[in-house]
Symmetry: C2
Subunit: 582 residues, 2 copies
Amino acid sequence: MVAASTPTHRSWLRKRLPILGWLPAYKRAYLPADLIAGLTLGVIAIPQSMAYALLANLPPQTGLYAAMVTPIAYAVFGTSRALSVGPMAVVALLTGNLVAQFAAPQSPQAAQIALGVALLVGLLQVVLGYLRIGFIVNFLSYPVLSGFTTAAVIVIILSQTKHLLGVSLAGPAPPLFEAIHLVEALPSANPFAVMMGGASIAVMLVFNRCLGRWLTRLGASETVAGLVARAGGLVVVSAGTLLTWLLRLDESANLQIVGRVPAGLPPLTMPFVSVDMLGAVLPSLLILTAISYVGSVSIAKSLASRQREKVDADQELIALGAANIVAAFTGGLPVSGSFARSAINVASGAITQLSSLFAALVIACVLLFFTPLFYYLPQTVLAATIVSTVISLPDLEIVRQAWRYSRADWLTLVVTLAGALLLSVEAGLLLGIVSALAVHLWITSRPHITVIGRLEGTETYKSVERYTVKTCPHVVALRIDESLYFATASALEDALLNAALDHPQATHIVLDCSAVNRIDLSALSALETTDRQLKAIQVTLVLTSVKGPIYRHLLKSGFVARFGPERFYLSTHAAMRALGCD
Amino acid sequence: MVAASTPTHRSWLRKRLPILGWLPAYKRAYLPADLIAGLTLGVIAIPQSMAYALLANLPPQTGLYAAMVTPIAYAVFGTSRALSVGPMAVVALLTGNLVAQFAAPQSPQAAQIALGVALLVGLLQVVLGYLRIGFIVNFLSYPVLSGFTTAAVIVIILSQTKHLLGVSLAGPAPPLFEAIHLVEALPSANPFAVMMGGASIAVMLVFNRCLGRWLTRLGASETVAGLVARAGGLVVVSAGTLLTWLLRLDESANLQIVGRVPAGLPPLTMPFVSVDMLGAVLPSLLILTAISYVGSVSIAKSLASRQREKVDADQELIALGAANIVAAFTGGLPVSGSFARSAINVASGAITQLSSLFAALVIACVLLFFTPLFYYLPQTVLAATIVSTVISLPDLEIVRQAWRYSRADWLTLVVTLAGALLLSVEAGLLLGIVSALAVHLWITSRPHITVIGRLEGTETYKSVERYTVKTCPHVVALRIDESLYFATASALEDALLNAALDHPQATHIVLDCSAVNRIDLSALSALETTDRQLKAIQVTLVLTSVKGPIYRHLLKSGFVARFGPERFYLSTHAAMRALGCD
């Protein structure tokens, strides 16, 4: 017994700790590639993670801590080779909204609350992963996620505009009001902040979008061109800091700077969660948990498919949860997979999660020795790096595409967008989910039901509306193109009764169930009620083409016996022949 | 133009005012049948409507007013010939819960609040009817409605038990606590109330369940036997009142009596609704609106089918709304169709709504001349009539049936029941709706997806799991048995990618869409993403058996052009042949 259980035990361990799979199998030949990718990743993550901490209303070092520590947790538990975990724009925005409810931006209290949020998000993710109920993120339909992402980008840009303008606004407000406040604050903008922020955005966009192409045209190798193109953040951060230090712009031009970033490795911290806070933030917390996971797993899936590998979505949820829990105990903030950094990681040649560990080493060096360099880093430059990163994400084209494809999806998208911009991104997301559900039920509650007849010379039955088919005077054949469940039950009832009333000479109604994938208790009850009503007016109901699994289910539950097995036919044609309609 | 518009105009009027259809076509020969049915209905409605007013925490005359006036409004707007509108047990219970939040039971304030509730319910119903969005009651699945009805009956019986015991309890409490309070109050029960109530229930059950059968056996005609069987209410009310009057039981035995019921026709009243109240009661109000409609329309449909007639569900909603609005202006309470009274109406021979008008005349006579007779009517007797009426409604068999048929439906049922008994019937209903939606999404989010192969010698493709079929090494054929929408999108993605990974030698994946009734934007986006990922690993995706309406939709939206029309095949067999898998 012991011998037999060992391999199962070992495979369970390897499933839960994927590092036991890839680390022992690590080849020395991978090392240079992972090292280069790791150095690139680390250098890029430094300004980005500080900027996202700013976006989350937190002190900049929290971003560095999370960027350093959480990839280590992910490397142990995660199944993706190249996913880069750490601070991420939309998750930082949601964290910032939560933090702002309880504490002043960038205060120690704010950092304390972020730890509690990270812990709760992490615990939720681990529990959802173990219970294998990560499927609930399917509630987040494509229009909802698109609307949410687009709105989030707009909100992020709005939130960074105050840093770019060098102004401070009164507390949090719905995005639309924030925009109005910003316009009102324009006259008091700091011209130096505006110039330096604008120049940083311009430089970063040139780096991101043009420089790589130019260098390749000039004969540089793809790798070199790629590395240079991604150095925009480093360049503006260095230049901005240098300029501010040289000209003492923090004093002479009143430019807001990052200030002292404490030196040293991430501290051990104790997250604290009060029950009051939990009650107040639960919906936002669930949204944060879901968004952090959705972003991460979709990137992991996309990366894995290129390598013909599978991703275990539930294990991904557990790994991300572990990363968030670790963040909570090391002074960090809630994290997620980052699409941009993961793409850079892959493009730089990463083969395993070791590249993320090398990136962590880079950040550790910075934390140990170079934090004083950030003192004069202007906030407007950090804001510029955020804006130029997210500005390529919004996709208003999707609104047109949704309109063209389906009004229902368009409505959901618009509800999400409008809710997010007029109320808050969280409210928009919730409204979008409700709207998607309502629209789905509305559509399925009016299924396509058509009278069908036989295509002359075949055994095929098609709609009388679109084909020239042969019908039968005393038998009405109907096909319903939807599963039979509570939303379609009353449409089914109406269709059957109306068929009997519209064809007073009919003695039989044939219901073709070939498009029915499921029959729930509500539909079954409607079917039995309607059958009784049809019997009362001497019309016999007959079911055809019921799928195997459904038939077995109906058999087991006793419905077939009650209804009469002789009233089931394998095909509509068989039923029509048996009822004398050749 | 004018000449052409007149018939349309007239048919619109006849659609909106069905009385213009049946009244001018009324035949004198119908009169005796309608008269007898009307008298029966009136006599039965008198104790019942007073008892339901009591259940709704209202003075007894409000029930009489509603029973008299609302059928007149329904006769004008309703499409059902035999539906009897008026006070109804579950609607009275919900009204009572609402009223109890704001006023003392049976006080004038309570009556005032009931008017406001009736007005709001009526307006909501009319608006929903005109906007043709009565379909939203499809959210109320069969397990939810069954659980709700069963719980409501238990709650109604509990609420009447205090009258049967002759005790009074402290304010409203969740049903389970109410049961505990009742047990605690047992020692202080009034033995006279218990005896008279118990005797009344026994007499009514004998009348309802046995007397008709006995009389028929003794040679009485069906009609006579039926009329006598329904006279139980009248008998216990008369006997109870007489006994109480003769023995002055209200004083000697401290029996609670109805007391003064004001004489005279229904007064003109002005309903009043405050915004504060509206905010507090909105969920309960929506539930009341829905339950009042669901009960009514299902009875109307069931009655109509026997006469081979159609019911216009939206017009029914408008008619019921009109009845509720009229109740609000004539001192009544929210009403609905009554299943019991409608059945009696039909059984007594009613041919048109004129029978309801005759019943209204009977109640008018009682209101004008006989209200003093009700002075000594004991409340325990009224409670007994309610209990013996509803006691046949609960159906715990459904719990077993649901368990046997599907765990999912069972779960919804149990959540509804538990919520209703532990919190309130309204909370139970809402929890049930949420649970039904979640379960539905959960089930559809894990659709049946199977690899299919060809049944030797046919063009039919079946699951490799259940049939001996021929597959093809370089083409994997999959069939998904569910529509492609946001809940199934990620399962689709996983299935396609896993098929490619599990069959490394495959160059093509064929997706059989014969069971797909709908493709929404989320699924389309998943399809495009997955297609890109498959392309990257040199696997070509091909779609077969896409239904006509879906294909036209995909064509119109540009997807077919983007995806490539050559990748659509009419059938899986056509695709397999084209891909060299004969």
